[in-house]
């Protein structure tokens, strides 16, 4: 039935690691990973608790298809209350850690309390123990990974770890696994560090052997892989150029957030694009991109493995950064690049390496630097704050300096740790923060892609593209093209994307499969793996239940309908160029219909009828 039916409960205050059976009633209602772990979180914490206090809990959760042979079936998520947004946080990661955890026999780990001193959790199949980690505290993710592998002498052991930024309280720190994969958004790494939990190491050799109908599962999985291989997006485009293929597209359609979203087209986009990553550089004739890479069981392999030009100022005296490592994905390239006005591909790659090395979400980091740059250009932040650094848009040296400061929390890095909203509030200019519910925007200007405005405003974890990627339809024509500048029909489109994505995120699969797969491709795989009947319709219902549950948590945490909005810049200041020139995001045209479709009141509250329909806990 694909679930291992085992949960590991780790009480860090008491130092205990106790197995318990998975709640199968909840698994049938919420599937796994994102949905199921949120159900546990809702049951076990006060939504108004201090996100960085011992009463918050942190869950690492797999889905039923994690660790199986299903394509991309290697995902896990980190679910907790976010210190950045105050909402539920759920950050999804690939790599190999999630599959290893499942193969060790665990559906999820629930961390509660706070350790008196730094610890790491070491798992070998059914053996789990907390180990003192004072020697690891103060080390980067990469150093810690190396030290743990040296200690345990098992190259196949997988490590999830927090870096120095999280230890220092950076509010957008990630959990890094397998060196350069990240449960990136909303500060889940910050919560992990607040519990004095430095790392989780896991080795699993048990396999996922309890598939409901193995022959039918193999058939369904093979059919799914064929669809991915034959689709031009998942079979050709993503392996060749990765998500960075979007840089030129989004710039061309005038939806590239630029210089803290003051503009929506970046003149330097082509220099930091996926195509540019393939160009041989002058110094050594090598391209930025060395090769693509895949996560566990993935047959798409969109990952980027890159090098930095050894002659580049950022690494000329730092040979430790000369080798191959995780390269730029579109979201990182946008945030580190066009949002800061920097068009230096090597500088962006260096900053991205540092984000991986010390566990910063590159979206929030880049967007926070962009806000700081606007504050600097406005004269609010000066060289007195930045130790003499000219923190201006387009300054590649300043970007690299900021990444170094944030990685260790030194100097102005402590201010940048606040994230865009708190930084702009601290300096008296909250209107310059490009955030929703405290989380920084991803790479699509909603003036040029109207549906993304509604997506951001209603996302259950603050501004996010991965909750409802209507870009797929509005810009990329997948599965069907809709007009990005129109608002009509977008409420239904956003809701449909939100519900389907919540189901995919709860299955153990990567959302990128949905560029080729529909739920008609996914349901047969889940249905063959799990007991019970899992139709596409049931997955949509589960997805919507998850969405309602997350919303309910957020409302209890103090979020209101008034928080479902966008910065005034996007609602009042028209785009200056491109197809959206003269347009703002018409959120008000879409939000009421969206509330209606969700079964909420006019001010965004869940009704008793909606709560009852989805069986939400009281």
């Amino acid at each position: 039935m694909a679930w291992t039916r085992q949960v590991l409960r780790v009480n860090l205050s008491e130092g205990s690691c106790i197995p318990e059976p998975l709640n199968m009633d909840w698994a049938n209602q919420y599937l796994g990973q994102r949905g199921l772990a949120t159900r546990y979180l809702v049951e076990e914490i006060d939504p108004q608790c201090d996100a960085l206090g011992p009463d918050n809990k942190l869950i690492m959760a797999t889905g039923p298809l994690t660790g199986t042979m299903a394509s991309t079936g290697g995902r896990y998520s980190v679910i907790t209350k976010s210190p950045l947004t105050g909402t539920v946080a759920c950050s999804n990661s690939g790599g190999f850690f999630g599959a290893e955890l499942k193969n060790a026999g665990w559906d999820m780990i629930i961390f509660e309390g706070k350790a008196a001193e730094p610890m790491y959790l070491h798992i070998e199949n059914d053996s789990a123990k907390l180990v003192p980690a004072s020697d690891l505290w103060g080390k980067s993710c990469w150093e810690t990974d190396e030290m743990l592998h040296a200690r345990h002498q098992d190259p196949q052991m997988r490590v999830a770890v927090v870096g120095r930024s999280a230890e220092q309280g950076c509010l957008y720190s990630a959990v890094i696994n397998d060196l350069h994969r990240a449960a990136g958004r909303s500060g889940v790494g910050t919560v992990m560090a607040s519990k004095n939990l430095k790392a989780v190491t896991v080795r699993g050799t048990l396999g996922v052997g309890n598939i409901q109908d193995p022959a039918r599962f193999m058939s369904a999985v093979n059919a799914g892989k064929k669809v991915l291989a034959e689709n031009p997006v998942t079979g050709e485009g993503l392996p060749a150029l990765g998500t960075q293929v979007l840089m030129n597209v989004i710039n061309e359609v005038g939806a590239m957030p630029t210089r803290n979203m003051r503009e929506s087209q970046f003149e330097g986009a082509s220099k930091i694009s996926g195509e540019a990553m393939l160009e041989p550089r002058e110094s050594d004739g090598k391209a930025n991109l060395t090769r693509n890479g895949g996560c566990f069981a993935c047959t798409i392999a969109c990952g980027r493995i890159s090098t930095i030009d050894r002659e580049h100022f950022s690494v000329k005296e730092k040979p430790q950064y000369w080798g191959n490592s995780g390269g730029l994905e579109y979201e990182a390239a946008w945030a580190l690049g066009s949002d800061t006005g920097v068009d230096d591909l090597d500088a962006l790659t260096y900053a991205n390496f540092l984000c991986n090395e010390d566990g910063m979400d590159p979206i929030s980091f880049g967007a926070t630097v962009a806000a700081a740059m606007e504050l600097f250009e406005e004269g609010v932040i000066t060289t007195q704050h930045t130790d003499g650094v000219e923190l201006k848009f387009g300054n590649a040296q300043a970007l690299c300096w900021a990444a170094e400061q944030v990685a260790t929390g030194t100097g102005f890095g402590a201010d940048l740790h606040l994230g865009s909203r708190r930084l702009c509030e601290k300096y008296g200019r909250p209107e310059l923060s490009m955030t929703v519910k405290g989380q920084e925007f991803p790479a699509y200007d909603p003036r040029g892609i109207q549906g993304m405005g509604l997506t951001y405003a209603t996302s259950n974890r603050g501004a996010c593209h991965l909750r409802s990627y209507t870009v797929s339809s509005e810009i990329l024509g997948v599965p069907e093209k809709t007009d990005p500048l129109q608002t009509e029909g977008k409420a239904g489109l956003v809701k449909a994307f939100q519900d389907a994505t919540a189901a995919v995120d709860s299955a153990g699969l990567c959302v990128f499969t949905t560029f080729a797969w529909t739920l008609d491709d996914i349901a047969p795989q889940i249905d063959a793996a799990c007991d019970g009947d899992w139709s596409p319709e049931r997955l949509v219902e589960v997805g919507e239940r998850i969405w309602q549950l997350e919303r309910d948590f957020n409302m209890k945490a103090g979020i209101t309908g008034a928080d479902d909005t966008l910065p005034q810049r996007l609602l009042k200041d028209a785009a200056k160029s491109g197809p959206a020139k003269g347009k703002v995001c018409e959120l008000g045209d879409m939000l009421p219909e969206y509330y209606q479709l969700r079964g909420w009141t006019a001010d965004g509250q869940l009704t008793a009828e909606t709560r009852s329909k989805f069986g939400l806990p009281s």
Binding site: N231, P232, V233, E236, G237, L238, A240, L241, G242, T243, Q244, V245, L246, N248, V249, E252, V253, G254, S270, G274, E275, C302, E329, Y330, E331, H465, L466, Y469, V471, S472, I475, L476, G477, V478, K481, V511, F512, F515, G578, P579
Partner: protein, 84 residues
């Protein structure tokens, strides 16, 4: 009339060698359709998924229509792509 033609992603190898930043200037007939431009660069119709004039999308049913392209326009084409 002169227009700028851009070709990206797995189609970029179809660009002539003088192209810079995936773009090349090209002289086309005043009544040239999008398919005329697409055919000029030997882009398979099935691969011309995103076809933009000045950033605005034109669907397959409009690509044989003359009069859509004006002097100085930018025509940009991608195969099916996605990311996130």
């Amino acid at each position: 009339m002169k227009i700028t033609f851009k070709l990206y992603a797995t189609l970029q190898n179809l660009l002539p060698s003088e192209a810079v930043d995936n773009a090349v200037e090209v002289e086309v007939d005043e009544q040239a359709t999008l398919y005329d431009v697409i055919d000029h660069f030997r882009v398979p119709h099935a691969s011309a998924h995103l076809v933009l004039i000045n950033g605005v999308y034109f669907g397959a049913d409009e690509r044989a229509q003359p009069g859509l392209i004006s002097p100085g326009d930018v025509v940009a084409i991608w195969p099916p792509v996605a990311g996130g």
